[in-house]
């Protein structure tokens, strides 16, 4: 059964107008909501910067990595946290060397926190990605790449600073988040 309005041309116009008005009215709150929802897209990751982590003397020169917290001012949406641990790095140096190697503790596979298993190797508790003490992949490992190294500077007076960055996980190339 179809019910025709008295004048079908007028009826067609009314239908189009009704859909247009209703659609437009509903579009306003939806558009405002989506606009606000997409706000994170224009927010950039904090630019990588050298952050002081520790003193050279705090890293024993035995080739075994030690875990250190990275401290920085952090802004999380509306809250500003002055000097807060924002992540962790493993630092390591060879006998008698002033050169420090830094590895981020974030697993390049899926982003879990990689743990040091004794003094033998690194192991990720999530999927058992295994890495040697210098961060290289120990097969078999689900991780697509070695642990991410970070640039590390040792100052005149022995202060150790690390260029803190996060990298996309799960891919073979090491690409910094932006």
């Amino acid at each position: 059964m179809t019910i025709e309005t008295s004048d079908s041309r007028r009826g067609f116009f009314a239908k189009v107008a009704a859909v247009a008005c209703g659609g437009l009215a509903t579009l306003v709150p939806v558009a405002a909501g989506v606009w606000a929802l997409l706000d994170p897209l224009r927010r950039k990751a904090v630019a990588a910067a050298f952050l002081p982590v520790t003193e050279l003397s705090a890293i024993p020169d035995d080739g075994v990595p030690r875990q250190f917290a990275v401290i920085a001012d952090r802004v999380d949406a509306w809250t500003g946290y002055p000097s807060e641990p924002i992540g962790a790095v493993y630092l390591r140096r060879e006998k008698g060397s002033r050169k420090v190697e830094a590895l981020t503790a974030t697993c390049p596979h899926a982003g879990c926190f990689v743990e040091l298993e004794g003094t033998r190797c690194f192991r990720c508790p999530c999927h058992n990605s295994t890495f040697s003490l210098d961060g290289g992949i120990v097969q078999p490992s689900p991780s697509p790449r070695p642990m991410d190294s970070l640039e590390c500077r040792v100052g005149e007076t022995g202060e150790v600073a690390v260029k803190w960055q996060n990298f996309y996980t799960g891919v073979a190339e090491k690409v910094a988040n932006s």
Binding site: I3, T5, G11, A14, K15, A17, A18, V19, C21, G22, L24, A25, T26, V28, P29, V30, A32, G33, V34, W35, A36, L37, L38, D39, R42, D73, V75, A77, W78, T79, G80, Y81, P82
Partner: protein
């Protein structure tokens, strides 16, 4: 397999047929749209649809707001600030949600009015009318709970009043209040509970009732305006077009309310700060800070005013005004469908509804008139009465004496005292609104600094802000003696005459010091005139020695002024160092200032006059306010100034060192 339909082809129609066979969607749509409208489509039937639309808008904007809102005492205001000031389009999203809530209350009133006047509540539609009343209360409940969620001063204090009134319900009141508030005090759980009510329980209940409301509406059909004079129409598209036009109009009005102020700023060539467009956000809720601008939203203002009718009745009055009378009114409304069965019942119902609405309008008008009276009152006309009121404090005998025993005149003046008091109350309210707005803007400004809000919340930020706290602390603790007024201001003379200690406006600056060394001013009300030092050594020095033009050339005095301003750190940075050095020489010279004052390493003992080392600087002022009786300052010549930071063993000082710091930073203009 779908069976082929005549004259139709193409993949879209095939998909339509495929789904229709499995869901029957064409039938459902048909049933939903092809409803007979007796007597044809009319504008007066649009209100129900606009309400559904308004509710849908609230659901959509509410869900998106939810994606950025955080309900806790340390994050509610902060997250709303972030939505309003930092997120793209956040101001628009929040503005639509805020003002659509207002629109919904108006639409509710219109829908109710239309239903009652048209008699659409009568048999067999009684149940649907009752459902409508429940829906109305649910909407009002959502308005009430939503008002608190930003956790600003406005919502906080208004909601405190509302929950305290809930505590007046007999027997269960106190328990009810505790359950809603989430404990004996306002805090995290108040927010989590109000949020759950606002975004969960109430809308879910509303949807359930709305489904039944709409189902019954379709079952009974549209109640047509009688008598029917025109041919029947169809819901689709005739009535729906009118409905959607009305929806668009509602949205246009809401957008207009949000955008018109911004557009006006733009047209005037100004820069629009979008964070301040749309719904207002006050200063963060602070239970320790009075909020004289506390008022419910305009649609509850009538209730606020109604409670004043019962002033002086105590808790009984509030119980009557807030619970019994509104309860009786709702009771009568629930009985309307039954009353409508009698011949005169419908007329009574219409008269009752219109009467209530008129009453609400009158009460709202009265409330607004009380609050904004000063804006339109003729102050000139009661100027004399205002002056006499200040002089006599409203005392009849004093008034009679003041007008020289003229009884008729005294009676006339006394008759205007009410008006004077009304203006004063209104002015106080308007000032409080101003302060509230300024506080809100200041809080937003502080939150917007690069270091953002501390983890303890925005209240911490506000509490350690000299600009907003300084004047409050000064008013509370200092202003009973000291004034703080620009000497060039027109009201300065009156204010200075009332003060009994120095004017601290610009203390530490060259201008202040210049006044101190001016023989005309030093014994005046802005300096020592109203203190015990009026006849002291400093006054006689300024009026005597300093006038010896041989010893003190104008350049010498200027140098001293420059040196002292440099000492406080508030001097003109362009002043030549040579001038300052000359000034310092004079200040430390024991033939000049150094005879009484200690300054840096000159040899004068402390205790004769205050130490000028670091005069007017932060450390110096904090020291002075903490303990003016210390030998660095006034010692035993201290006039009446309390030691604000010192307390006897076991008691608390009048001001904490943080508070003293706030007053000092404010006085020094550092914020």
């Amino acid at each position: 397999m779908s069976k082929p339909r005549e004259g139709r082809a193409g993949p879209l129609h095939w998909l339509g047929d495929f789904l229709d066979d499995r869901t029957g969607w064409r039938g459902l749509i048909h049933e939903a749209l092809y409803e007979r409208v007796p007597g044809g489509a009319r504008w007066r039937y649009v209100w129900g649809s606009t309400l559904v639309f308004a509710f849908m808008t609230q659901v959509i904007t509410g869900l998106f707001l939810w994606a950025s809102y955080s309900a806790s005492a340390q994050t509610a205001w902060e997250s709303v600030w972030y939505i309003q000031h930092e997120m793209t389009g956040g101001w628009l999203l929040r503005g639509i949600h805020h003002f659509m809530a207002h629109a919904m209350v108006v639409l509710l009133a219109l829908h109710l009015l239309q239903v009652v006047i048209d008699g659409a509540y009568k048999a067999p539609r009684e149940v649907n009318f009752w459902l409508g009343l429940v829906l109305m209360m649910l909407v009002l409940g959502m308005a009430l709970t939503g008002y608190l969620l930003p956790w600003d001063q406005k919502g906080y204090w208004a909601t405190r009043v509302a929950t305290n009134l809930a505590g007046l319900v007999p027997f269960i009141g106190p328990a009810l209040q505790k359950i809603v508030v989430g404990g004996p005090d306002y805090g995290h759980h108040t927010l989590t509970r109000f949020f759950a009510l606002h975004a969960g329980f109430l809308p879910a209940t509303l949807v359930a009732f709305l489904v039944v409301h709409l189902a019954l509406f379709r079952k009974h059909g549209l109640h047509a305006k009688q008598p029917i004079t025109r041919p029947d129409g169809m819901f689709w598209p005739d009535q729906l077009l009118k409905d959607t036009v009305a929806m668009l109009a509602v949205m246009a009005v809401v957008l207009g309310v949000i955008l018109v102020p911004a557009v006006r700023t733009m047209l005037a060539g100004g820069q629009v700060d979008w964070g301040h467009v749309g719904a207002e956000l006050g200063a963060p809720a602070d239970p320790s800070q009075p909020y004289a601008a506390a008022r419910p939203e305009w649609y509850f203002l009538f209730l606020f005013q109604f409670l004043k009718v019962f002033e002086g009745w105590g808790a009984t009055g509030e119980f009557l005004g807030a619970i019994v009378v509104p309860g009786l009114i709702m009771g009568v409304m629930f009985l309307m469908p039954i009353l409508g069965n009698w011949k005169l019942g419908h007329r009574f119902n219409v008269a009752f509804t219109l009467g209530i609405m008129a009453g609400v309008a009158v009460l709202t008008g009265l409330a607004l008139n009380e609050d904004y009276y000063a804006l339109w009152a003729d102050k000139q006309q009661v100027a004399e009465a205002a002056k006499l009121f200040d002089e006599t404090g409203g005392d009849e005998a004093k008034l009679l004496a003041a007008v020289g025993g003229d009884r008729a005149k005294a009676a006339e003046i006394a008759g205007q005292f009410d008006s004077v008091e009304k203006i004063r109350r209104s002015e106080a309210f308007l000032a409080a609104v101003q302060t509230a707005r300024a506080d809100g803007e200041r809080a937003a400004e502080l939150a917007g600094r690069p270091e953002r809000i501390p983890p303890g919340g925005a209240l911490e930020l506000v509490r350690r802000d000299p600009l907003s706290q300084g004047p409050r602390l000064f008013a509370q603790h200092c202003a009973s003696c000291h004034s703080h007024v620009d000497p060039a201001a027109p009201e300065a003379a009156t204010i200075l005459a009332r003060s009994s200690a120095a004017n601290l406006h610009g203390f530490g600056t060259a201008a202040w010091m210049k006044g101190l060394l001016d023989p005309e001013q030093v014994a005046g009300p802005a300096y020592f005139g109203n203190t015990a030092h009026k006849d002291g050594d400093m006054v006689s020095f300024v009026q005597g020695d300093l006038q010896d033009a041989d010893a003190w050339k104008p350049a010498d005095i200027e140098a001293v002024i420059a040196a002292m301003a440099a000492e406080s750190g508030l001097g003109d940075p362009k002043t030549s160092p040579a001038v300052i050095d000359l000034g310092r020489d004079h200040v430390s010279n024991e033939e000049r200032c150094g005879g009484c004052h200690r300054f840096r390493d000159n040899g004068t003992d402390l205790g004769i006059a205050c130490d000028l080392t670091g005069w007017g600087g932060r450390e110096w002022l904090v020291g002075l306010i903490t303990d003016p009786t210390h030998e660095r300052f006034y010692g035993d010549t201290n006039d009446r100034m309390p030691s604000f930071g010192k307390a006897a063993e076991g008691s608390v000082p009048r001001l904490t060192s943080d508070q003293i710091g706030l007053v000092v930073d404010w006085l020094r203009g550092e914020w």
